[in-house]
Subunit: 121 residues, 2 copies
DNA sequence: CACCTGATTCGACAAACGTCAACATAGACA
DNA sequence: TGTCTATGTTGACGTTTGTCGAATCAGGTG
């Protein structure tokens, strides 16, 4: 196939959309588009396996973890890869290959935006 | 179905599921059961329509809203009812019938628990 | 009582999702 | 070069989810 394909590291659209998107949910009602974008972030954490993977990365020393360190969550390796991809597409994780292994780390600003929305009262 | 400790303010089911579940995700990795319970809460907010309904209730004056006040989110009324039920089952909303109308309000402790999990350093 | 309005439940269907086995790709090393 | 290990991708399958129309329930009013 083509060797000039674009790497979906962190789509500029997602990066821009997430940062200024989120007033606290008590402040005002969300528009349809805001709800669409925001729901996508929550959906990324709505699966038990994904949530475990995310917590494994988030709680790992150094703030990042190799896939090999977090693959023991009770599903097959392709499934782990699939979930990590979803977390990456949602902007919650970033990945980087260093030699043999691929490391994932949390994208703090996106998670902070989610937390801010849940600032009730 | 009832377990050891139940907070008086919450439905037994919801209190059981939510109360002791949530260290910050950076603190340690979630167990399978913790992830199961927690993912259910995030799943409740993972749909755009549900998220809009939730924000409509949360941002409504007095902290509660009649179904009739928030039904205009672009789906049929049975669908609205279905989503409100899901939010209630997840412990995020509580409902009360007063005469003709049914009022929904946010369950602050549950939302606070979710926010605490996203406290990323 | 009958009638009306607000809200939920039921039944059905298409779309989205999670999962796996098989295959493909990337890098290390001999 | 070839082989081995670590990740990612593909294709398929069963389950779950979101949606609606129709029916039903609940409460107020005449």
């Amino acid at each position: 196939m083509s060797n000039t394909k674009v790497l979906p590291l962190l789509e500029p659209e997602a990066a821009e959309a997430v940062a200024p998107c989120c007033p606290p949910l008590t402040e005002r009602a969300l528009s349809a588009e805001e709800a669409e974008r925001t729901a996508a972030m929550f959906k990324a954490l709505s699966d038990p396996v994904r949530l475990r993977l995310f917590s494994l990365v988030a709680s790992h020393e150094g703030g990042e973890a190799c896939v090999c360190d977090i693959s023991d969550v009770g599903v097959s390796q392709p499934t782990v890869s699939h979930h990590l991809k979803k977390l990456k597409e949602a902007g919650l994780l970033a990945s980087e290959r260093r030699g043999t292994w691929v490391y994932y780390r949390v994208e703090p600003s996106v998670v902070a935006a989610m937390a801010q929305m849940l600032k009730i009262a």
